[in-house]
Amino acid sequence: MSQPDIGAELKKAGPAEPLLPVEKKLIGWSLGIGLALLVVLLIVNHYLPVSL
């Protein structure tokens, strides 16, 4: 099957770009909301155990 030249494509990407504030916010908020929701679900899981 025809394959793209990945090395050439990656070279086209240019130099590394620093993380923008909006990216830092995205990463931070995702992790924060994710961890908070997991804690909520764990509490739900504790009080509503799986029943057969």
């Binding site: 793209p4 030249d5 990945i6 494509e9 929701l37 997991l38 799986v50």
Partner: protein
């Protein structure tokens, strides 16, 4: 795969674009099989001719029809009729997708033959038998103990051998190498099978659904953020590469990489490259994780099922990996005298995967909004309509067959609902065949030589570090937290 990748794959066609996507085609084919199977509820057996394989030592006894109604066909006759029926239906699909029909028919014939031969080999007693009692029954002294679902692994290995040692053969088969189509048809059918399984234990099933929500949070909010950070900060990838890469590694492999690539307006080459890596690593996972699960998680079957859904990327590899895991763990438990009801481990894997898939469109829209408004402001802003455009439509088929199957199991008169397991069982035989085709196709797409191509090393390093250093273990921890101590019902 989404339409984007489909059009990339089918660039050989010069006709106008297909009027139907592979996603919708899977829904219609899956629903068609489901509806035909339901005729059995009225006493009409329309699908009993489909071929099924038993564990064998005498090749003459390996194949049979799924139903005794068509027993006169014999095993080979059933195989031939099944092949012809699938060829006819999939050729209509291929025509709708503007594929070259002649090339598709030739390629599908080879794909079906090789994949089903792998499945038959996987059912050979020396490969499949697990318990000492069965070894005695077949008069053998040893076996690989892969269960008869070991045929999936055989199909995958045969595909891998062709891809890596006979690339020209792989090239000739490409018209019929459609793992996403096959697995989506299988998942639509799987909805009905899970409904029949869940109907017996509705409270347990709804408890498990609630816990599936944890998978969404983990994949989108935790995995993605960490992998994106690793790709950007530690490996220096730019945003165009890092976002599809993070989506491929953390969400749902191919579909997510392509949806996010489109949403952030990345060049089409980026998600295509990421997708090819996703498939290669999914193969590695499927060859390792089910056996790890059998060794270390046999006492926690539901944890193992959830783990497959969270750790193995791409729908095909994950759901089929869940199927292998279930077979391996149930066989090990049976050898210890514990007989679990089949379907629950696979059900957890499929639930986790489907829950994750549902949000691909929304996540792609969120990223698309941020990219087109704040990172690379462009006139072509992200639109709400894209959420529906990127929604994996096969989920509609899965939900429909699950809802109809559950309604019939719970609300239909007793004489009708009593026939439901047999009816869905026939549809499920097709599901197994589509799983085999998926495994073989994934193998064919996995050319490991790509890992040695210039530039791939850095991409693979992100994947390797994230998957084996983080995704797999966090997935295991979350699975343990939410599914630990939950066991499938015992078989009656």
């Amino acid at each position: 795969m989404s339409v984007t990748s489909e059009s990339a794959q089918w660039s050989s066609t010069t006709a106008p674009g297909p009027w139907i996507t592979e996603d919708w085609l899977a829904v219609w084919i899956g629903l068609g099989i489901f509806v035909l199977a339901l005729a059995w509820l009225g006493g009409v057996d329309l699908l009993g001719w489909v071929v099924s394989t038993s564990v064998w030592i005498d090749p003459g006894l390996a194949l049979a029809t799924a139903s005794k109604t068509y027993a006169q066909l014999g095993g080979v006759g059933a195989l031939l009729v099944t092949y012809l029926a699938l060829l006819a239906v999939l050729s209509v699909g291929a025509a709708a997708l503007n594929l070259d029909l002649k090339r598709f028919a030739v390629a599908f014939t080879a794909v079906f033959a090789l994949a089903y031969a792998s499945w038959i080999i996987g059912s050979y007693a020396y490969v499949a038998v697990v318990t000492p009692a069965d070894q005695q029954k077949f008069g053998i002294g040893w076996s690989l103990k892969l269960t008869n679902e070991g045929g999936y692994v055989v199909a995958l290995l045969v595909g891998l051998i062709i891809a890596n040692f006979f690339p020209r053969v792989a090239e000739r088969l490409k018209e019929a190498i459609r793992p996403e189509l096959y697995i989506k048809i299988a998942i639509v059918i799987l909805g009905a099978f899970l409904a029949v399984t869940a109907a017996g234990r509705l409270t347990l099933a709804s408890s498990l659904l609630l816990r599936g929500v944890a998978a969404i949070i983990e994949a989108y909010l935790i995995y993605w953020a960490v992998v994106y950070y690793v790709a950007r900060k530690w490996f220096g990838f730019n945003r165009e590469w890092a976002a599809p890469l993070a989506s491929g590694i953390s969400i749902c492999g191919v579909s997510a990489a392509i949806a996010v690539g489109g949403a952030i307006r990345a060049r089409p080459i980026v998600p295509v490259v990421v997708s090819s890596l996703v498939v290669i690593f999914a193969v590695v996972e499927v060859l390792i994780l089910p056996f790890l699960a059998q060794t270390f998680l046999a006492q926690e079957p539901m944890v193992a099922g959830a783990w497959m859904g969270l750790a193995v990327k791409t729908d095909g590899a994950a759901v089929a990996g869940g199927s292998i895991t279930e077979a391996l763990i149930l066989a090990k438990s049976a050898a210890e005298g514990i007989h679990y009801q089949p379907g629950w481990v696979l059900g957890v894997t499929a639930t986790v995967k489907v829950f994750i898939d549902i949000f691909i469109g929304i996540w792609a829209f969120v990223l698309g909004y941020i990219w087109t408004n704040h990172i690379n402001p462009t006139a072509e802003r992200a639109r709400f309509a894209e959420i529906w455009q990127r929604f994996p439509k096969f989920i509609i088929g899965f939900v429909l067959t699950f809802a109809i199957g559950l309604s019939l199991a719970l609300a239909a008169p007793a004489d009708i609902s009593a026939r439901l397991p047999a009816a869905i069982g026939e549809a499920n035989t097709f599901r197994v065949i589509f799983f085999v085709l998926t495994f073989f196709s994934i193998g064919i797409l996995s050319n490991f030589r790509r890992l040695w191509q210039e530039g791939v090393g850095k991409l693979a390093a992100v994947y390797l570090l994230s998957l084996f250093g983080f995704v797999i273990w966090v997935g295991l921890a979350i699975s343990w937290l939410f599914f630990g101590g939950v066991h499938p019902p015992l078989a009656s």
